[in-house]
């Protein structure tokens, strides 16, 4: 649909004025048609304009063609809701309501997303046989806060609603005040377990706006860090899943093995979560060849142990019994919700930014997209192990053959009135930073969508018809970010 959708590539900036402003009805129609045709909604956000108007922008990802599309409209007071037709939009529309007061007319459940807590009414069933179970915001373990409301009959779960927002720190608003000396640490703090991923998405957005690229060695070291973050979290999750089904050998082993990957990040940059490594222009720390070789040797030995620890988990009949068929999320549900990351791939969706919207070093070193058709806890576990395997191979290859040259280039001032969409495949899935600059080259808007924003609804649906005692296991199999969602 030329002229109605602005086509973009991941990380390539364009003139901010080039984004088409459609009349509201056209915007809705083009958006609905694109989503029906298979496009994913990567971002959908509002920007206050003069006299109470709100400019709404939608970023669509066409995974088959590897392109991104942007379209926008201007609304006042309300807009017709597309939530019933395109459930992938429903949470985005609720954000427009709470941030800009734009009423999504006809939205089936216009509850606040971040500012409601338990105070805003939650869905409740009526009837003498139904009871409610309320959990949170403080949970039993060392976990981020959120409120879970179950509608049950005994063990049977009819409905689960998850109320978030307890982690709302205003990170996106603080980011929009940049670029300044706080920009990098704010990006790293969106979700502390995805510090490398969000730092990379932010750095690539700024590089796009400034018209520079990280040098090859810097790009590969970023790839190393992003994959180490993925392995650390996937291995940690396998351990936690083992813990939740009471299979303690893998729980103990993986807890220790995860540390080897965090420690590898600390070798690179001094911080176990990779904080301070990724900067606009490249990375702050180089890795000498001898050290890279030693690190590769250690990580190769560690992954053999991961295989052994994970092997125990996947071959144990008792584990199989608890994970097979538990918390099933169908392919259709995952696709309709616009889900991303391992949770989507475990339901059979081929979504992986590294493959569909690649940037260096993934343009030359491709990553197989791991999928499973089953959509259950077992599939979400298995996909994690397979992805960790692929990442371990990549890290090994990169560390043993780092390209020569500098790791960082200088980044000039950001261009004025530019727009960029930066996608990175974090370990939970797609991270999307959409940034525009004003006339002076400062940020005019900074929108962040963490993978978890797309995926929380999937956890709610996976619990339907299940048993409430399976919730901790299901929750862990998604392991979504509260901070990344709440921003």
């Amino acid at each position: 649909m030329p002229g109605r959708i602005l086509l973009l590539a991941n990380g390539q900036a364009t003139d901010a004025a080039a984004a088409p402003r459609l009349p509201s009805a056209d915007f809705q129609q083009v958006l609905a048609d694109a989503v029906t045709a298979g496009a994913r909604v990567s971002a959908f956000f509002g920007q206050a304009e003069a006299d109470g108007a709100v400019r709404i922008s939608a970023v669509l990802a066409n995974d088959r063609q590897g392109s991104l599309g942007l379209l926008s409209t201007v609304a006042r007071g309300s807009l017709p809701s597309l939530a019933a037709e395109c459930p992938a939009l429903e949470r985005f529309e609720r954000v427009l309501l709470e941030e800009h007061g734009l009423v999504p007319a006809g939205h089936p459940w216009p509850r606040p997303v971040r500012l409601g807590g338990e105070a805003a009414p939650l869905f409740a069933m009526a009837g003498g046989e139904v009871h409610e179970v309320a959990v949170g915001p403080v949970h039993a373990g060392i976990i981020e806060p959120g409120h879970f409301r179950f509608q049950c009959h005994g063990e049977h779960v009819f409905h689960l609603e998850i109320a978030l927002g307890y982690q709302h720190r205003g990170v996106a608003r603080l980011l929009a005040a940049g670029p300044d000396r706080r920009t990098a640490v704010l990006a790293e703090s969106i979700a502390g377990d995805t510090a490398v991923g969000h730092a990379l998405a932010s750095a690539r957005a700024q590089e796009g706006l400034a018209g520079v690229e990280a040098p090859p060695r810097g790009a590969v070291l970023r790839g190393v860090a992003l994959e180490l973050e993925r392995i650390a979290n996937h291995v940690g999750d396998l351990g936690a899943l083992a813990g939740d089904v009471g299979f303690l050998p893998t729980a103990s082993f993986c807890g220790a093995l995860r540390a080897d990957y965090l420690n590898a990040l600390a070798e690179l940059c001094g911080n176990r979560f990779g904080r301070g490594l990724v900067v606009p222009g490249g990375v702050r720390f180089d890795l000498p060849a001898d050290a890279a070789g030693r690190l590769a040797d250690r990580l190769a030995a560690t992954f053999e142990r991961v295989e052994a620890a994970a092997g125990l988990f996947f071959t144990s009949p008792s584990v199989r019994n608890r994970t097979d068929g538990t918390g099933v999320l169908t392919r259709q549900a995952a696709a309709t919700l616009g889900m991303v990351g391992p949770s989507a791939r475990a339901s059979g969706l081929r979504v992986d930014v590294r493959s569909t919207h690649p940037f260096a070093p993934y343009t030359t070193d491709s990553v197989p997209v791991v999928t499973s058709p089953a959509g259950d806890v077992y599939a979400r576990s298995w996909v994690r192990l397979e992805e960790a395997r692929n990442s371990a191979r990549l890290v090994d290859r990169w560390l043993r053959d780092l390209p020569p040259g500098p790791v960082r280039v200088a980044v000039p001032a950001l261009g004025p009135d530019r727009l960029v969409v930066s996608l990175v495949e974090g370990w939970r899935g797609e991270l999307c930073h959409t940034v525009t600059t004003g006339p002076g080259g400062r940020f005019a808007t900074y929108d962040v969508v963490d993978a978890s924003f797309h995926d929380w609804k999937g956890l709610e649906l996976a619990m339907r018809g299940g048993q409430i005692s399976d919730f901790p296991l299901c929750n862990k199999s998604f392991n979504l970010s509260y901070a990344g969602h709440d921003l």
Binding site: I143, E144, R169, V185, S189, G192, G270, G311, L312
Partner: protein, 273 residues
Amino acid sequence: MKGILRTRRALGRQTIAYPEGPARFPERFRGRPALAPERCTGGCHACTEVCPTEAISGAGSPALRLDTGACLFCGLCEEACPERAITFTRDYRLAARSREALSLAGDVPQLAAALDARMRKLFGRSLKLRQVSAGGCNGCEAELNATGNVQFDLGRFGIQFVASPRHADGVVVTGPVTHAMRPALIATWEATPAPKLLIAVGACACSGGPVSGSPVCANGLQGVIPGVAVDLWIPGCPPHPVTVLDGLLRLLGRLEGNDLRVEGTGVISPGNR
């Protein structure tokens, strides 16, 4: 079962040597900053210009100070300083008993003082803690979880994170304390039986950290629970699990003195920071 035993043998003993033996840190690990204010030349503000959290005051004068409660240990000030007036050591000991004590002026070990004799008698051999994340990004939460794994093994000291505040001797708070979590945090504190301890972990809980000044959060735990002082501050972004262990063990009087043993990991050659 055979597989389990075989894997168990292959992995071997995982628990770290600390505190009886040395703690191991990578060459690039940034622990306690060491300040040399006498090197700080008049008019230079290179460090404050790069610091993301305004943790440095008095730059360009002998009044140079660095607040580790706000510090994210990014090391940008060390990079920027032409005189090496700020350097990051590998001393992992960072915890303090008062918020003011987190502000450093020189190059002196930071050793948290122990509780009084009565509290040590109550908690010294068994301390149960309830954790509340109040806007933590999951970095501090992840490291607190790691303290319980087989490597750091908090349990060997009789310290344990428990599910209910009713079973707890203290509350450990991470995050800047978002407005949305403030009531739940106060309710958790009130549900914990006295006598009890209040512990702040991480830059956000100490000062607001990366999000300090946000209109939807407090700037950390100070003053959030009316009339209650924080017993232990553990800075870092996030603090290393050994930093957390050091703070807790010193608080309980289980670790004393200034014996610092840090070893490298052998990956990056010493001096190649």
